[in-house]
């Protein structure tokens, strides 16, 4: 039950990286990649929504947020 989706995900991730065939990118070509909205992590302004999603939903993690700790009492 758990293993099957993991296989699918692993295959998808591996496939994505293989198929993308990364190009060499020089520093001067990174102006778009260095844009503040191209960041590969959650932004600070998303902190509150990550917090409530972590408590209202049964899952958490893999998003730079917490995977445990805290109460979410209310």
């Amino acid at each position: 039950m758990i293993i099957k989706p993991l296989y699918v995900l692993t295959a998808a991730v591996t496939g994505m990286y293989c198929l993308c065939s990364c190009q060499p990118v020089k520093e001067y070509q990174k102006n778009r990649l260095n844009d503040a909205e191209m960041t590969l992590s959650n932004r600070r302004i998303e902190k509150e929504e990550l917090n409530f999603q972590g408590y209202r939903e049964g899952s958490s993690g893999a998003n730079g947020g917490k995977t445990g700790g805290g109460c979410g009492c209310n």
Binding site: M1, I2, P5, L6, L9, A12, V13, M16, Y17, C20, C22, Q23, P24, V25, Q29, K30, R32, L33, D35, A36, E37, M38, T39, L40, S41, R43, R44, I45, E46, K47, E48, E49, F52, Q53, Y55, R56, E57, G58, S59, S60, G61, A62, N63, G64, K66, T67, G68, G69, G70, C71, C73, N74
Partner: protein, 435 residues
């Protein structure tokens, strides 16, 4: 002979000339710089939720199950940056946050529904990072503390590292531990009656002592329910909950417009994983009991991010996460955010997120558990449901600051969230960065 003398003389002069060269002082040598204020961030947000079937009332879909919440959160973060004698960048970040909330369900910790509805949470943080730009590595440690009303307090510690690869990639890892203490505040009707305490004030009635959600002892007339006296706060036992996680990420630049990340967390929790004021009603009994959950939980979320700069104005930010744990929950999360640059310094970012999960094997709705169940909860966060989150944000970051002030970045974000459990919420957040 003359030729030999001239040669020796020439060599001597050459050597003398060589020693006469003065080595110029290296003015380009790196000098360390002490920590200086780099930026200040102020983050405020307001959260508003309506829901029924709250876990405090055992998922009761009636009026007692009200789960309305408001939360006003304010935080400040101060970042200091400096360089040590080895040329490494040191970043020290200190933060402090405070949440003020109201929760309708909290009132029902007291079975009468008259418990205190408000609370405050305080959470200071401290992080220190050393980055070596020449080697492309960084190392960091952090500490976190949080105390919510009287319900719990939590201490968090973490350490992280990252290393860049030779092919525009970066690997990073983080180890975290959270050590929580949960105050064992039970629903008022489940607090044992102090049968030894009888006779109050000559009336002849028995008295009972209860502990309210705020940790205060009240003396009640057993027959009439009248509050006879309110005592000082008492020390209530706590239970521990420890959470450990190892987080790994690998980011890769794919081409000048695209970059992606693979994120994997492995989390392990142990201790008291329920909450002592979450009720459960069995099908064959009108009396509530406290939810009971296993003392261990293993979580495995795996996520992918992919960002693409489309043309000169549009960015596509995609995210997918698969999650599984040993309580039987599997979930999928998909989100897409599309920042559109109206000008180079002003952008609008609509976003959409879809979430779906299966139920934990320990969940059942109101009055559907039986006494034969080993573990039981009616907390709808562990039920099967789907949710949608939609909204938009704006970002203003002019080169000279907003209105030529020290305010360098202004972000505003609004989102509307709805679940198939009838939970609906709205959140608005404002983030200000001063340089």
């Amino acid at each position: 002979m003359k030729r030999v003398c001239l040669t020796i003389t020439g060599l001597v002069f050459t050597i003398l000339a060589a020693f006469s060269q003065q080595t110029p002082r290296d003015t380009t040598a790196f000098r360390s710089r002490p920590l200086k204020l780099d930026e200040v961030n102020i983050l405020s947000s307001y959260y508003d939720q309506t829901a029924n079937k709250s876990a405090v009332s055992g998922g009761d879909p009636g009026p007692r199950g009200i789960g309305d919440v408001t939360d006003l959160s304010n935080g400040i973060e101060i970042k200091l940056v400096g360089w040590d004698p080895k040329g490494r960048k040191n970043t020290l970040t200190g933060g402090f946050g405070m949440d003020n909330h109201t929760a309708a369900s909290q009132a029902y910790v007291d079975s009468s529904g008259h418990g205190k509805r408000t609370g405050t949470r305080l959470y200071p943080t401290l992080d220190w990072t050393i980055a070596n730009d020449q080697r492309g590595t960084s190392f960091g440690i952090g500490a976190y503390y949080s105390a919510e009303h009287n319900y719990y307090h939590s201490l968090g510690l973490n350490t992280s590292f990252s290393a860049k690869t030779h092919h525009n990639g970066e690997f990073s890892g983080k180890l975290s531990g959270y050590f929580d203490h949960i105050v064992m505040i039970k629903p008022s009707e489940l607090i044992p009656v102090d049968s030894a305490a009888v006779s109050s004030g000559g009336s002849g009635d028995s008295v009972v002592y209860i502990t309210t959600a705020s940790g205060r002892t009240e003396t009640l007339n057993y027959n009439t329910g009248q509050v006879l006296s309110k005592g000082d706060k008492v020390s209530i036992p706590t239970s521990s909950r420890n959470s450990y996680s190892a987080s790994f990420s690998f980011t890769q630049i794919i081409n000048p417009r695209m970059q992606g990340a693979l994120l994997v967390d492995l989390a392990y929790q142990t201790g008291y994983l329920g909450l002592p004021f979450h009720r459960v009603y069995f099908a064959d009994s009108a009396t509530a009991v406290v939810e009971k959950l296993p003392s261990q939980r293993v979580k495995l979320p795996v996520g992918i991010r992919l960002n693409y700069f489309l043309g000169d104005r549009i960015i596509l930010r995609g995210y997918y996460r698969f999650y599984t744990d040993n309580w039987g929950i599997h979930s999928h999360t998909v989100s897409l955010e599309i920042p559109v640059k109206i000008t180079p310094f002003f952008s609008v970012s609509p976003f959409y997120r879809y979430y779906v999960q299966s139920a934990s094997r320990y969940f059942a709705p109101y009055k559907q558990h039986t006494a034969a169940d080993e573990y039981f909860t009616s907390n709808y966060a562990l039920s099967a449901f789907s949710g949608q989150y939609v909204g938009t944000g704006i970002r203003v970051a002019p080169p000279g600051g907003v209105l030529h002030t020290h305010l360098s970045v202004l972000e505003l974000r609004y989102g509307h969230y709805s679940e198939t459990t009838n939970l609906v919420s709205n959140v608005i957040a404002l983030d200000l960065t001063f340089k």
